[in-house]
Subunit: 342 residues, 2 copies
Amino acid sequence: MVTIREVAAHAGVGAGTVSRVINESAGVSPTTRARVLESIATLQYRPNPLARGLSRGRCQTIGVIVPFFTQASAIERLRGVVAALGGSRYDLVLFDVETPEHRAEHVATLNRQRADGLLVMSLPLADDELARIMATGMAVVLVDAQHEGLPAVVTDDTEGGRMATEHLVDLGHRRIGFMGDDPDNEFGFNSSALRETGYRVAMADAGITPDEALVLHGPHERGVGTELAGQLLSGPEPPTAIVCCSDVQAAGAIEAIRAAGLRMPQDVSVVGFDDIEMATHLGLTTVRRPLFHSGQLGARLLLEALGVHPPEPQVHELDLELVTRTSTAPPGATSEPQGETT
Amino acid sequence: MVTIREVAAHAGVGAGTVSRVINESAGVSPTTRARVLESIATLQYRPNPLARGLSRGRCQTIGVIVPFFTQASAIERLRGVVAALGGSRYDLVLFDVETPEHRAEHVATLNRQRADGLLVMSLPLADDELARIMATGMAVVLVDAQHEGLPAVVTDDTEGGRMATEHLVDLGHRRIGFMGDDPDNEFGFNSSALRETGYRVAMADAGITPDEALVLHGPHERGVGTELAGQLLSGPEPPTAIVCCSDVQAAGAIEAIRAAGLRMPQDVSVVGFDDIEMATHLGLTTVRRPLFHSGQLGARLLLEALGVHPPEPQVHELDLELVTRTSTAPPGATSEPQGETT
DNA sequence: CGTGGTATTGGAAGCGCTTCCACGTCGTGC
DNA sequence: GCACGACGTGGAAGCGCTTCCAATACCACG
């Protein structure tokens, strides 16, 4: 491992001068600079990022805290982050959160030296957790979460739930079920609850009182979607349409519909949420979340926040969009609906 | 930011003692240890990882070099890595490689201080690149790539190509097309070429001389799959089956088949490669690669290599498996095939 | 020829940690 | 009562870098 001192010795200058050259600081004569650069090339010198970081107090790394890295939606966001970071000089450290303990651990461990900035995805951090992070001086940007005084990239989940439900109402459905995440999940995710609110708003707007037996909750898993949908469909008065708060649960629901020997959309319509790739293949009507874009924008905001002129924290709301495919139709429709939007 | 010295002062001991406590080194009396731990808790002290790394010469981080982070197969592997790293004390730094320049840059930048170990995915690194990496003393594990003297996790691509083709031959196909990656791609990926070899082996075994007009190449993209398949199908003597060297290209091929007004599998059978999630939804018969498992195993091997007793470098070959779904059937089959394997 | 800048430069200090060495302070065996 | 380990412990040195300060050289000007 070549050190800066060896380079200095080789070039016949002081260590400080070499440092000035690598950092492109002003005040090095062109002659000296050239000599130093040559020595660097000859010796194949690479500055030690750790030493640099220790000395400068920052490490050219941004951390991404992402719950359930294994979920398609998280991946899509991460893709956006990677894309945005592509051109920058920052490395990306991944903190996967699968349990509340993970989160606590990461928050506790985190400090300025691990990452200069932090992208927090989907996790509604508690006040004290955020306070601790802020105390380290790290720049923080939230994606799919919100907190006073912090820049954030969000979507309107309530509106999304409303859009999905309204679409079904417009098609003529009255008995509409809803499947969402557990409202009292251990992470404090609340987007599902908001979507449920949107569902209720749309129902109310249409003058329908939701049948509480048609509103079910369970973990964000495909199998759970199958199970919940099975429950809905086997009831005394099954719904003619189901709003799912994720494409994953919707995929499960579709399985349940097939298993029950029912047809989609003739017997049951299904709307999902997210528009992950799978939705295209399933022909799933869904509320598209700008996942990639949100990750990308979040990373950009973070880079800005780390820059020379950090802008005022601002909340960026990205639009949701209803993508109509073949999983929804008027209740009791007899013919296959035509045309698939990709 | 609390430093080790402040903790030492608070506990009335020397900095060395505090260090010994955090690192659980022997030689600290229980009384002192308790006092120090209390001070740490009171002051909420967190060791600075940079300083620690600088001092110890390692940074508790492993790097993952992954080309085309945006590809489903890469993601699946990464999931495995994250899973394997879950319990360890190592952080994960992601190096995305989208262009050969990226790769060169990463290899140049990399040094021991950035990561203690390196997981190289799918990238056939050149000798000099590897030499440079090895010179840093980093532990290296290859996944889906191989190099003398390095631990690796691989699959037999030739055998995979053979399996896929044999399956079609067994079904009675004779005119079988092949679609693969560009053989002279800028990264030096060769798995597609190996699969093509397997295809030729299977054809030869069946006594069939492949029609070179049915062997096409193009970038690993869905759109390209559509295009190539379109070409195959519009020829004077279209194939009755196509072996695709990835599920992504296969998905494109399926589109082309639909677009051409043909039926799958009655008119054309399709076999993919990878078994990404999409394959299930497409009903795609495919050669399953143990993607998750390979990432997980790779990460485990790396952790072992970083451990106290690094094992001898070893090449671990994981099995491929043909997953039969509804995209393949005997040529000219009249009835929908039954039963879907998930 | 003296004065005050400006342009370069070397090198010490310090970032926060680990680790090694030296220094007590005991307890033990004689 | 003394020598000798073993055990705890403090603290200096050093990891490789940045950055600041002082020093030098050089210039133009009067």
